[in-house]
């Protein structure tokens, strides 16, 4: 690790950090993204994505007007793409909280450069996810009202707290709220920074948004406490959310759904897909915003390691499912898995296995792990694979269950496809807006980390054991 020149003579010059990245440079670089003239490519991008998002709203309107029949859902496959997409997006959402909360608790300093964007991604993913449970009833106005425990003077009826769907409502809304708070709390000091650099209306806006943050020691004191507690709360929360989502299936009687392995398996899968999506976005973002020296190869590599690990866990879960199905001796259970692998939906199953279990194995090789174009492609494969995992679990279990007489098949309609396509439009639109108007990297956190390390040396002259600073700065040399 590199020597810190500041340590040589702390009293002469202001602390400089390596790679010429001073605190001011970092503030400047990140703030400039929001301050500089909006680039044309951004307009083009958001133009495309928002028009795709419009397709989503058109499709939802059509759905509400006509009924669920415009989708391919049927008896017995009463849930299909709707819930598949719901679980898919929720899963994506998990990486953000994981990075910002769990890695924070584990003092994984490398998280700092990516947590802000990852959290934003979480919010937008959960927003996309939320659409599906609400609209898959065909009459959202009812679902919205009756699934919440609101007193109703006319009916005197309440939700049924035995139903995993009600658990979902609580889990997802809690998750959305807490993630949003966590994200905003993290933003406050940076908003203040922007405020203090801005003029006129911008200044007013950021002034209001930062709530008059002054960054005084007493504030920081409470602030750090709050952040720590939020991290501590989000960690079990993020685990609980996907566990509860998995309860939708695990608590049913349906062979292929009724499995105790689901909670851990779903959480692993969620992290898996989440990190893949973070990679996808970060690879683009760091290139588009020239932040290679902040979001370094090391960051990406670490995430790829996580992908490798969780991917393998997921693969292990697939194997276990089969073993248990065979071992249980339950004919219905056995059939479901034989049917998954060799039935009418076998293509989906093998697509899933290929994308989720086989492709991540490439990451054993450091060369591939650190190869940006490769990881980009692979991360997309993983996302496809994880979508198929949800589809396989939902559709193939439903289409052939206990009574052979009630077996069916599922074919998506154009509306199914366009609706799903549209959610990507919404997601990207929101993310582009975020990149444009808010600091994509937690400025004060990075500065704090760098400076405190440097200062630590400066004052006590001891070598710093935490590798954080050089890690962050490594990019500077690239």
């Amino acid at each position: 690790m590199a020597q810190n020149p500041a340590a040589l003579d702390p009293h002469v010059k202001p602390i400089l950090v390596q790679g010429g990245a001073s605190l001011h440079k970092i503030t400047d670089d990140i703030s400039k993204i929001t301050e500089s003239q909006t680039p044309l490519k951004w307009y083009i991008a958001i133009g495309i994505s928002s028009s795709i998002a419009l397709i989503l709203f058109a499709m939802l309107g059509w759905l509400v007007w006509m009924g669920i029949g415009v989708w391919g859902n049927n008896q017995p496959v009463a849930w299909a793409w709707d819930i598949t997409n719901f679980v898919f997006w929720i899963g994506i959402g998990h990486a953000g909280t994981l990075i910002s909360a769990i890695l924070f608790l584990f003092r994984q300093k490398w998280r700092t450069s990516i947590n802000r964007a990852a959290e934003a991604m979480t919010l937008f993913a959960v927003a996309c996810a939320g659409i599906y449970p609400l609209f898959h009833t065909g009459r959202p106005w009812r679902a919205a009202y009756w699934l919440l425990p609101l007193p109703n003077p006319y009916l005197a009826m309440w939700p049924n707290f035995r139903s995993p769907l009600v658990w979902d409502v609580f889990a997802v809304s809690t998750y959305l709220t807490v993630s949003a708070l966590f994200w905003y709390v993290g933003l406050i000091p940076d908003l203040a920074t922007l405020r203090d650099r801005a003029k006129g209306v911008r200044q007013m806006i950021f002034g209001a948004a930062s709530l008059g943050w002054r960054g005084s020691a007493r504030m920081w004191n409470n602030y750090e406490k709050a952040y720590l507690i939020l991290a501590a709360l989000s960690t079990p929360l993020v685990l609980s959310v996907h566990s509860i989502v998995s309860f939708d299936f695990a608590t049913s009687v349906l062979p292929g759904w009724h499995t105790t392995i689901f909670p851990p398996y779903f959480v692993a899968g969620a992290i898996f897909s989440g990190f893949a999506m973070v990679i996808t976005l970060m690879v683009i973002a760091r290139w588009a915003l020239n932040l290679q020296y902040l979001i370094t190869i090391r960051h990406l590599e670490n995430m790829n390691k996580v992908i490798l690990a969780t991917g393998t866990i997921v693969g292990y879960a697939y194997a276990t499912e089969f073993f248990i199905a065979w071992y249980s001796g339950n004919p219905y259970e056995r059939f479901v898995f034989i049917n998954r692998a060799f039935g009418p939906f076998a293509w989906a199953y093998w697509a899933m296995v290929t994308c989720n279990v086989v492709t991540p194995q490439f990451f054993w090789s450091k060369r591939l792990r650190t190869n940006v174009p490769f990881m980009f492609v692979l991360s997309i494969f993983v996302n496809i694979g994880m979508w198929f995992e949800r589809f396989v679990i939902i559709a193939t279990s439903l289409h052939r269950d206990f009574m052979p007489s009630a077996w069916g098949y599922f074919r998506p309609t154009p509306v199914d496809m366009l609706t799903f396509f549209g959610t990507f439009g919404l997601f990207v639109t929101l993310f582009l807006a975020f990149c444009r108007f808010l600091p994509v990297i937690a400025v004060s956190e990075i500065k704090g980390m760098m400076a405190n390390e440097a200062m630590h040396e400066a004052m006590h002259g001891q070598p710093v054991n935490a590798p954080a600073v050089p890690e962050v700065l490594e990019g500077g040399r690239h």
Binding site: P153, Y154, L155, A156, M157, R195, D196, Q203, M204, G207, G212
Partner: protein, 215 residues
């Protein structure tokens, strides 16, 4: 750096927030009050084609409800009587009254009189008069003192929660069957007590499950 917000901002904001809070709470309260079943659903008093006065017939003349609404003990509907029934008396009583014009026409032409429905339930609710009247639930429990109304008016909300109140605790509304149409019934002791006795005697047990009313 120049100040962004003047000194007074925070004061104003706090007061503003306070005011907003009060408005929201007040609005919510008002909205709840207005939409509350007892206020929203009651008081409906449409004008009937024929100025028939229950006050006169049921109250002053003391006609029994069963005389006209003779189906209540046999059927789910409390049928509005056929014109015939009116004419039973009105061939002799006030045969020329202009207010009975429509009745006479209907009797002559066979065209029904278009009475306006006052007490409406959603069509997925299967209320059954027979079931209630025959166990001693009085007309007054749901329709109020009809015998004091010149124009019939809805006085009870008739919403599900309201139905449930009685289905959960029927005692106050159960009376001897022969007293069902006696809207002015005043027992010498606590009616609920009498209700309880009847309930045990007849084994009355109103359904609280959904299919009791929704089919």
């Amino acid at each position: 750096m120049a100040l962004i917000f003047p000194k007074s901002t925070d004061q104003i904001l706090r007061l503003g927030a306070l005011a907003a809070g009060l408005v929201v709470i007040g609005g919510a309260a008002m909205g709840l009050y207005v939409t509350w079943p007892d206020n929203l659903k009651t008081g409906y008093t449409p004008v009937q084609p024929v100025p028939y006065s229950h006050k006169l017939h049921a109250g002053e003349l003391g006609m029994d409800c069963y005389y006209c609404h003779y189906t209540v003990t046999k059927s789910s509907y409390a049928a509005v009587p056929q014109t015939e029934v009116c004419m039973n008396c009105h061939v002799r009583v006030k045969p020329q009254s202009p207010r009975l014009e429509k009745i006479r026409d209907s009797y002559a032409t066979g065209k029904p009189v278009e009475w306006v429905k006052v007490h409406k339930l959603a069509d997925f609710v299967y209320f059954n008069h027979q079931a209630h009247v025959t166990v001693g639930v009085s007309c007054v429990s749901c329709h109020g003192r009809i015998d004091q109304m010149v124009e019939v008016k809805q006085v009870k909300p008739l919403n599900m929660a309201w139905c449930l109140d009685c289905h959960r605790n029927p005692a106050p509304n159960i009376r001897p069957v022969e007293q069902v149409t006696n809207l002015a019934w005043q027992p010498d002791r606590d009616p609920a007590e009498i209700g309880r006795e009847l309930i045990t005697a007849k084994g009355i047990n109103p359904p609280q499950n959904c299919s009791g009313c929704h089919r």
